[in-house]
């Protein structure tokens, strides 16, 4: 899934395809390494690099908004979830119902991601921008950082 995402970014990129491909390949390799060695700490960096390759692609892209962004978001999220699932070190046999609910949840989350993404894109392309939207973006980023800081403090306790 992550490889498909990197391939899409690379193929669709009209500027700096080597950088997009390089960052994406590094991310994919890091994910594969983390999965092979079951190194949980490294795995999110791989996801981040794969996401970064897409970020480079959209940043250097000329013209309109990428309409496939919701599908890319759903694929990246599904890749992350599946990766974490395979990193779980559990000798337990799972009941069929548990696996089924988990798969259904993953598919549902990916579908909701695609739907919400389409909505966000629709709003973003329809909106004319302005200070309010800019402030909402900054607030979202700050809240994310605050959440991370809170989690880090909880973890240290």
């Amino acid at each position: 899934m992550a490889a498909g995402l990197v391939a899409y970014s690379d193929v669709a990129s009209d500027r700096l395809p080597a950088v997009v491909g390089g960052v994406g390949t590094a991310g994919g390799a890091l994910m594969a390494f983390a999965l092979a060695t079951r190194w949980r700490t490294v795995f999110p960096f791989g996801i981040a690099l794969v996401g970064a390759s897409y970020a480079v692609f959209v940043a250097v892209r000329n013209g309109a908004v990428d309409g496939r962004a919701p599908a890319v978001a759903a694929a990246l999220f599904a890749a992350a979830e599946l990766g974490y699932w395979s990193l779980e070190r559990s000798p337990s046999r799972s009941e069929g119902a548990v696996v089924l609910r988990r798969v259904a949840g993953l598919v549902g989350a990916a579908a909701v991601t695609a739907l919400l993404g389409s909505l966000v894109l629709l709003l973003a392309t329809g909106a004319s921008g302005g200070v309010g939207l800019e402030a909402a973006g900054v607030a979202a980023a700050v809240i994310s950082v605050a959440v991370i800081a809170r989690l880090a403090s909880r973890a240290s306790v």
Partner: protein, 420 residues
């Protein structure tokens, strides 16, 4: 909390900042699922409350048998995924049922998990230590609980096939199944004697009386019980993996105790080694349970104390008792204690639990030499016992306990014939 939550929040934050920096809404779309899932995970987080109950099909069973175990999980506050692990001793093998198992428990749900266990080895166990690990929907929070609901399970050693038991040289005063030397009420014919007033008519031997012209009476041997003491040498054992000389010794002790008690003998049990443990000889089914329970507590404890048979309480070894010693003959202290017992006049029989099959195959000249020395040393010990009039039967992989007992019976018959 798992690192996944931090990773998702971090990915969302990085993507959102990148979106701001590049002014691209696509990156907001990429950040959205990670941010939403992290937020939902934090909002919906709660502490599960799960209890467990453990129930065993039986409390007592025999080595090799199967036992049903029911583990009931009761969730006041459930969890999306619960990993349940029932901790079991090595000697109990799961034949049916998944252990560990991952399942879902809704709020107020009660789930029964059934396991079929095979008791691979004897012992007294406490089963029911349950480890639970719960996960939330998103895998952000993980909690571990340990529920201790242990219940006792006693696995008795399996019985050996024994056809004939060893007959004690002396019997006691109570009625039993052994033919005593003394004359009295019984079935076995002993002698003829002239009639005296008071003799019962049913004891008249009419054929002898007709031949001799006067009344002659049949005399019989009395049928009495015997005192049997099973002496288990627990100074040392030979062990290789799961096999040990203690296992056959306990199987033999259990078998012999059950068989002697069945024929109304009084049976005692003495564990002679690092820890001294004894049961006074008595009869009945309760005594069998006492002996078997005492056997389950038997373990080899390393000790340098030089124990003598004087440390065994006097009533534990009643006079004229048949003492059956089960020993691997690995410790000098047990050897000298047994010779001491014989010196005190006890009717002693040694059943040697051969440790040779548990020894590693000798390698090289030094190994061969060591192996030969060991065998010679054991021969010498056996020779010392035989010179003291103690019959020794070797019970190993190649022979059965029944064959070993037959060997001792034959030795005793020959010895009696020689002494006459």
């Amino acid at each position: 909390m798992t690192p996944k939550l931090g990773a998702y929040a971090g990915l969302a934050a990085v993507a959102l900042f990148a979106a701001l920096a590049t002014r691209r809404p696509e990156l907001v779309v990429v950040a959205a699922p990670f941010a939403l899932v992290a937020a939902l995970g934090l909002l919906l987080a709660r502490r599960p409350s799960i209890d467990a109950e453990v129930e065993l099909g039986v409390e007592r069973t025999i080595e090799g048998d199967e036992v049903d175990l029911r583990l009931t999980l009761v969730a006041d506050v459930g969890a999306e995924r619960v990993e349940a692990l029932l901790q079991l001793p090595r000697q109990l093998v799961v034949l049916g049922g998944d252990n560990p198992l991952q399942l879902r428990l809704a709020d107020g749900e009660r789930r029964e998990l059934r396991y079929r266990l095979q008791c691979a080895r004897w012992g007294a166990f406490r089963v029911g230590h349950v480890y639970l690990r719960t996960h939330d929907w998103f895998g952000f929070f993980q909690r571990e609980l340990v529920v201790d609901r242990r219940v006792p399970l006693k696995v008795y050693p399996s019985e050996e096939n024994v056809r004939n038991l060893l007959q004690p040289l002396e019997t006691q005063v109570f009625a039993g199944n052994h033919v005593a030397r003394q004359k009295g009420e019984g079935i076995e014919f002993a002698d003829l004697r002239p009639f005296v007033p008071g003799d019962r008519i049913r004891h008249v031997n009419w054929r002898a009386s007709a031949r001799r012209g006067e009344l002659w009476i049949n005399e019989h041997h009395a049928e009495r019980n015997a005192d049997v003491v099973i002496l288990l040498d627990s100074f040392a054992e030979a062990r290789r993996g799961d096999r040990s000389t203690l296992d056959p010794a306990l199987r033999a002790a259990g078998t012999l105790a059950a068989r002697y008690l069945r024929q109304k003998d009084r049976v005692g049990f003495v564990t002679f080694g690092g820890i001294l443990n004894w049961l006074l000889p008595t009869t009945g089914a309760v005594q069998l349970y006492r002996i078997v329970d005492a056997m389950l507590d038997t373990q080899i404890v390393l000790s340098y104390a030089w124990r003598d048979v004087v440390t065994v309480p006097r009533r534990t070894l009643p006079p004229q008792a048949l003492v059956l010693a089960l020993t691997p003959l690995l410790d000098d202290r047990s050897e000298s204690a047994l010779l001491d017992l014989r010196g005190r006049g006890f009717d002693l029989v040694v059943i040697e639990i051969s440790p040779l099959s548990l020894l590693p195959r000798p390698t090289g000249d030094a190994g061969d030499l060591a192996d030969r020395l060991l065998r010679l040393r054991r021969e010498a010990v056996r020779g010392r016992f035989e010179r003291a009039g103690i019959p020794v039967a070797v019970w190993g992989d190649e022979t059965s306990l029944a064959a070993a007992l037959e060997e001792v019976s034959a030795y005793r018959r020959r010895a009696r014939a020689a002494s006459v």
